[in-house]
Subunit: 235 residues, 2 copies
Amino acid sequence: MSTSEESDRLAGAAVRHIPPASLARLTIYLRALSSMLGEGIDRVSSDELAEAAGVNSPKLRKDLSYLGSYGTRGVGYDVSYLSEQIAAALGLTRNWRVAIVGAGNLGRALAGYPGFGSRGFEVVALFDADQLVIGQEVGWLRVSSIEAMESVLERTGANMAVLSVPAEVAQDLCDRLVASGITSILSFAPVVLQVPDDVQVRKVDMATELQILAYHAQRAQVSNIASKARARLAT
Amino acid sequence: MSTSEESDRLAGAAVRHIPPASLARLTIYLRALSSMLGEGIDRVSSDELAEAAGVNSPKLRKDLSYLGSYGTRGVGYDVSYLSEQIAAALGLTRNWRVAIVGAGNLGRALAGYPGFGSRGFEVVALFDADQLVIGQEVGWLRVSSIEAMESVLERTGANMAVLSVPAEVAQDLCDRLVASGITSILSFAPVVLQVPDDVQVRKVDMATELQILAYHAQRAQVSNIASKARARLAT
DNA sequence: CTCTGTGAAGTACTTCACAGCT
DNA sequence: AGCTGTGAAGTACTTCACAGAG
């Protein structure tokens, strides 16, 4: 038995381990449920929710089954109740205090991102190295100097960080975040960050996404050319 | 035999199908190789490249084996040659013309993203609905009116689009992009987009990423509490 | 009779270990 | 002797089909 499984049992948690693939989808279900709540829908079937989330319904039910049995057979799910259960499983009941490192266009876009503030995430600090940018107001925040990062992180009680800085300085700033006790980092820098095992890093990478699209587009094109060649041969 | 497999054979392509998981990693290898080229390194072993990409070496070799055998046993890989082969497999030899829809902070950040211009991607249009923003210069581009989107897409020969607009208008603009013949879309809007089967959509979602981090952080905490409880019980 | 929840089967990915070049 | 390339074994995820609750 692994340490974490053992810990779950001791902590009395019902959830043992959610597969990464399911975890990613649970956040989508949560958003779909939130928007349904907004529309005044209070009951939903697995078919309907699956449709809204863009997955098939057996997959949705399997995903939900990792959390427990929160539906009613023959009826469906209570939108509000299911939302709460998913939010609880994801750890969204406590408040997360996010520091954004890098106040360029991307950092500002993130600081102003509406869906950010909702669902338990609060942006508590915004850092930059540029003297012209330090001190500027962005939304409710004032940009802090990167030199004072450690003390501001401490004072604001940040427990998550977003890295929206150039690739060259990402590893250095990442190291400083880790040294300050941050263990959850979302990076937009196009580099592989080296961190200790107990630090979680997730990476969002525009170049990767475009290249994956390019691959599929090229394939589609090749298929198309081949189809035409085949059509010619057939005549 | 599926249509696409058949097409590959007819087109004479060596590559049949790259698993999605491998595809995502190939883009990372490509970046690592580019940076090695920049440093003047011209030979690399699977161990070294795997280290740089943050994966283990059997996985890297397996990934590369989907493309072909481009290494030399007992020696390693030629950095430049392997780069070219990966780029070719990903479809990066042709030039991709990208339109960015939405010129808010995020759209501007994307338009100015350096890694964007390199590797075959060129931003050819930038759209917004705000009269105050239309006509502004962002880098080398002038922001076009969203009303003229169809004609500008046509004129600029855009063949990929990035959606950096609010969730409420994302589906509508997506439909217009699809109607204009765009078949590759990268969306930053936090909604599930409905598109025909022949259109590829990839989604980047900040909220999802943070929620996944929150889940892991919460788990780490629970484990920690449990460990302490266990330590107490043991005494 | 409807719709959920879930073992079991099927599929895809990862890891392993070593054969095969150089 | 060293490092790649790859079948085969192992693991994780997805799909299926139906048992089971209402």
